[in-house]
Point group: D2
Chain length 259, copies 4
């Protein structure tokens, strides 16, 4: 049998300690709930890592042994060290999968990989969200029907400032009148990236069965298949190159080459 997919579930893990409302929903931290949901699958094994651990729990060793990293951050994006962000980016480009959750849209790592601002509209009004499945044949929607609903969510609305995704998997309808590209696939370097909108610190989103199913599917889709480091080598020619003087006159035939 194939080796298990090794997932590292990363969590900022701050408001679960500081805020009673959050603590009530995620008493051991959101990462524990997510990791448990993933590890319930026979082909997935998990570890967790959090902001306040040394190197944020993301040492070279941990990342080298990670096939997919999931990322939740919210109030402390600025405290993630740039060196660790670059380390994670490097691993993604080499092939590690990355699943960015909800408020992770504003994390350093997501913005660094997208190259854009990643801004959006938002509102906390406990409204209803309906996620429409645009790609029922895609691995990420296996077992998901035409749509699924979340009864109480924080709203995220367009325009979401991201590069055009390779594939938009879910588009959300919100009770308050907005829409959002809630499941977006990207490839960067050799790594697969999935942005998944659902999530919140006081609404129990990560206990939801459909959300958990999407996370499991996304882990399988994003799992690292290679670990390739792209260098910038000076190479020899394969075919013979005819020796010749550089012909400034010819190259500059349409302009005027300087004397």
């Amino acid at each position: 049998m194939a080796d298990k997919i090794r997932v590292t579930v990363w969590n900022e893990f701050r408001h679960e300690k500081n805020n009673d409302a959050v603590k009530k929903v995620y008493p051991d931290g959101m990462h524990v709930v997510i990791a448990k949901a993933l590890a319930a699958q026979p082909d997935i094994e998990t570890r967790t890592a959090t902001l306040d651990e040394p190197e944020h729990g993301l040492t070279e060793e941990v990342l080298a042994a990670t096939d997919v990293l999931t990322w939740w951050g919210h109030t402390a994006h600025g405290e993630v060290e740039d060196e660790i962000v670059t380390r994670v980016q490097t691993r993604v480009l080499e092939g590690m999968g990355l699943i960015v959750l909800h408020s992770g849209h504003f994390s350093k790592i997501f913005r660094k990989l997208m190259g854009t601002n990643c801004s959006l509209k938002w509102r906390e009004a406990a409204e209803k969200e309906r996620l429409w499945n645009l790609e029922p044949g895609h691995p990420i929607t296996e077992g998901i029907g035409e749509y699924f609903e979340l009864p109480n969510v924080e709203m995220y609305g367009e325009r979401f400032d991201i590069p055009t995704p390779d594939k938009v998997i879910f588009v959300s309808w919100f009770e308050g009148g907005e829409v959002f590209r809630s499941g977006c696939c990207f490839e960067r370097g050799h790594g697969h990236i999935f942005y998944f909108r659902p999530g919140h610190e006081t609404f129990p989103i990560y206990y939801n069965e459909d959300v958990q199913r999407v996370l499991v599917n996304a882990v399988r889709w994003a799992r690292a298949r290679v670990a390739l480091t792209d260098a910038c080598p000076n190479v020899k020619s394969i075919e013979p190159i005819e020796p010749k003087e550089v012909d400034f006159g010819k190259a500059g035939k349409a302009g005027t080459a300087p004397q």
Copy 2:
């Protein structure tokens, strides 16, 4: 008549001062040759900016008055200040066009906007390059035939570590046996980005008529049409939202909500 397109031609402008072979080809700097070719068009006006000017010549005022920025860097990418790079990125996301030339593939600004490594293979052997035009109906290839040739070039070979471009305009054939995606269109935020491979400090590439024509076309394609700053606003709902208690049980119907 419409206002002219305001182009700022940026150049590292180092080896033209330090290296006699480069100085011979570009005695006043590469930026002067590029700017002159662009400014020969009735709808384009240019200014130049270089690394060793204060703020690299890219003050807030200059960028605010720039519709398209062209970028050449080679040996001193690391000396471009991060603050200026972020400033340029912000302007691109707001709508300013960016044309990245040759060794600019490894510039901070291009890598920041792409989110990838932007590595490639390279070789200096004065070999022949033939750029095939894959998009003869695209504005960037106006006036360009099925292909054009450069007699003596530095080779760049695949794999070019970039996100899948929105459009590949040119693919190069090299005498030594490689291929390369030599003209690539991207959109990031509201800005248009064109990567154009041709260029070198001792081969007189920017005097070439076809290269100049592509640069002019690319400037027109990439010109800023808007200046939009994306924020992340907290918004009110448009539709009424039914007041309701957060139903932890319902949201967590498939899992087990914590007590």
Copy 3:
């Protein structure tokens, strides 16, 4: 001054003649209202063509003199002759723009150019639609704000069976709970194609100011810039090819070439 953009507004023009409710809204036919809105612009000139004219009004001459074709069909898609559909496809591939409206999603020409089924969900309940502008810097949304609303529409819901668009311009929110990619850009051959969802035969959609503005913008975006016919030529080599015997053994080194 540049030549005007020549638009041919095509309409099935059946229910305006057969159905009193439709006749009341579009007494002279929907094409007349659309053409009038477009022709009000100084840079656009229009003609109209309808199903029951000879060759559906789309002769070789008319198409050769058309920069952008707009297409409305609804109840008589099957009556459009295949030969004319192929003629229109050929012109699109050569560079003519095509704007497909509302129920035109099921027209022969749109399905032929997409290669897919182009199916969707629908409902007539006079509900509200809000079109969110995902690309405020795109030429098609010039003058359009963050969203615009239509008070009474026929709903179209996902999944819309189309190839992934090059760019999704609008996503609609519907009162009844669905979402839809309501403005989609494609390129096929050398032609630009825009699918625009709004439209109906009894709701007065094409009198709406925002809808008209989008149509004008789309015409400008889609206008033909070239007229290129792609052939499949047998070509001579540019570089010398070394004469050699076909080496079956070498080519088949990994398999076993037959004797």
Copy 4:
């Protein structure tokens, strides 16, 4: 263990019967060589089908039991019945994979799924081709290095008139001076499509080990995961829709609604 992937290898199978040079390379037909290479894998089972069988060997039953169809055609594209082409298209949109080989670029099924002309340049001069691997982390290039070579090929050159591929896997360098996008991924409906350039009737391309490896990989990538038929249903609303008179005045606020 998972069920095997069921591949139907389709071949026009004409010139192997009529032409001695072809017969010498593929005495039992090209399909037999391809099918044998695929069936050597433990997870793949094959059947073959050819043009001159009833229904071209592609009955409803055969297609329903096919996860991936490979297609070779060359001199008799016009003899493939439109009804069968539509049947194959329907199955691809439902989820069946399709691998189009070499001269299949001009097959009815490929052109129908692409919506474009699919033309290209070509030359038979037994020249060398080098296929550069642009996506070393993609499943289709598993086991393939930076490039592979074919010593004697028919050349295909750009511009290849296809919609922009989702992913370009290989770009070819040709001895005679051209380039080509030789491995292209598309998704249409729920089906995965891979166009693979290598192939010829007298050069023994399908005996080549690297070509066979790519075919095996492509079969695994393209295998049907779903069988979904998209209909165009009239649906009820999920959310309540406020009953209201159609407000012609409001909808037409910016124009003038007819009386």
